[in-house]
């Protein structure tokens, strides 16, 4: 219990008739670097927003460190970089960092913050005079100043080129290496694959896959075979040729497989199926599940 930093239970948020987040359950252990991966519109930002207490859920609960998000934020345990969240242009990097340090109860030393964010030589510069990547790192510096136990980053590298991205992730790694919990969102599989130690794939506001990067990569590279759960014989499915994982989602059985042909042949021979579908990769899975999700 003590080791669960973030706990989302049945989290739901509607915008009009669209369920942006739909019954999200998630527990994140201390020290994890977790990627929330999904296409645009998957509900990542809404989920993050509820996680931080900026948006109220229609249903479900969020606890951070066993408390409400607002309490955890007030206690200085959370740092966040929100999507498209600019910093005030007339302030310098140092001023913004000093402000953040003053707001948190146990801040890091200024020099350490600047070094971690790779901004040591930019301290006196105004934020509107920084490059896109530098500005993003300035926002990261603001978020990490208070040495929060939980760092939440919403699409942190969206505006960065390759070099800036590398520098940024190096900074995140230095931070996470101290046993802190990092949650970030991205719509790029390689980014989740490379930098997270747990990847949660979100589509249409629901978790469609959850595991270590290798497993998600396999899902992305391989095929998914889905069929109706009703009338299907479920035991032994994981032993079929090629099958990597078996999941039951709603009324559908989802197999991920490295060899869809062999899996389907074996299924036909031994198990039988109805409404079978084979789809390729994560992108297809995204689309299928997104389309299915919006029909509700």
């Amino acid at each position: 219990m003590d080791d669960i930093v973030v706990r989302l239970t049945g989290l739901t948020r509607r915008f009009g008739s669209v369920r942006a987040v739909n019954g999200l359950d998630l527990a994140i252990a201390r020290g994890t670097t977790l990627a929330l991966l999904g296409p645009n519109g998957a509900g990542k930002t809404t989920a993050i927003s509820m996680m931080l207490g900026l948006t109220q859920p229609d249903a479900g609960t969020v606890t951070l460190f066993g408390r409400t998000p607002t309490e955890a934020v007030r206690a200085g345990r959370v740092g966040a970089m929100l999507q498209d969240s600019g910093v005030v242009p007339t302030a310098t990097v140092r001023e913004v960092v000093e402000l953040a340090r003053a707001l948190y109860p146990r801040p890091l030393a200024t020099d350490r913050i600047l070094a971690m964010a790779g901004l040591a030589d930019r301290a006196g510069r105004r934020l509107d005079k920084l490059s896109g990547g530098e500005a993003q790192r300035a926002r990261f510096a603001f978020a990490l100043s208070g040495a929060p136990d939980l760092m939440v980053l919403d699409e942190p590298t969206a505006a960065m080129d390759v070099a800036a991205r590398q520098a940024f992730w190096a900074a995140i790694h230095r931070y996470a290496a101290e046993g802190r919990t990092v949650v970030f969102t991205t719509h790029q599989l390689p980014e989740a694959d490379e930098f997270a130690d747990r990847v949660v794939v979100l589509a249409a506001g629901r978790v469609v896959a959850d595991g270590p990067p290798a497993q998600i990569r396999a899902l992305a590279g391989g095929r998914t075979v889905t069929f109706d759960a009703a009338g299907a014989r479920l035991e032994g499915l994981e032993l079929l040729p090629g099958v990597r994982s078996v999941q039951v989602r709603g009324d559908r059985v989802v197999l991920t497989t490295d060899d869809a042909d062999a899996t389907v042949l074996a299924l036909a021979a031994g198990h039988g199926f109805r409404n079978l579908e084979v789809s390729a990769g994560l992108e297809t899975a995204f689309l299928t599940l997104t389309a299915a999700g919006t029909e509700h």
Binding site: L54, R74, A75, G86, V87, V88, A91, E95, Y104, V152
Partner: protein, 243 residues
Amino acid sequence: MRAYLWFELRRLARDPRLALFSVLGPVVTYLIFSGLAGGGDQLEGVDAAAALMVGLAGYGAVAGVLSVGSLVSQERAVGWLSQLRVTPLPPWQAVAAKALVSTLSGVPSVIAVGITGRLQHHVELSAGRWIALLLLMWAGTVPFALLGLAIGYGLAPQLAQPVNFLAFLGLSVLGGLLVPVTYFPDALRHLGHALPTYRYAELGWRSVAGLAPTPSGLGVLAVWTVLFATLAAWAYRRSTAHR
């Protein structure tokens, strides 16, 4: 909260618009207008040079105070205010600091126009009366600070700026900060007397004359303050519930 207050004040001091619109603007306007008024004329119960000094100090102060509202709108649009909400700074303190900074941005105008009045037209007041005038002209900006926050939290930047400017222009001209309401036709003068800008400047005029504020003047200011506070609170709640 103190750190955030200092942060905001430093930014404000660095903003060239404040120096331009709420210091240079009113000082130059004061020099022009006060040169036109004949010596010994009486306006609003005091010497014309002093009356215009108070009016233009108030004009610059209202300009400065309202402009902070536009800035709030921009900070909201770029997500800075959301960013602050994920720090330990309680939201009410962020708003309170903003309101305080907003009223303080009216002070440079009062000082600058006051000094100009003293130097150019030998407006003679005792030290105590200068201080009382400054404090009244500062405290009197509260309703305008609330109006600025209502605009800043309620409207998108591209709308906040023109609305702000129209509110400023309408209130300051009709409230007799530039041209005294004495010169207005009857109907317009009655309107002027009902505006917070007139009653704000009235605090200063009566203070210069050594008189206490009128109950009716304070009453009008109180009504506008409550109205703008309600508007600001509504706009703030709406802006945070939206995301």
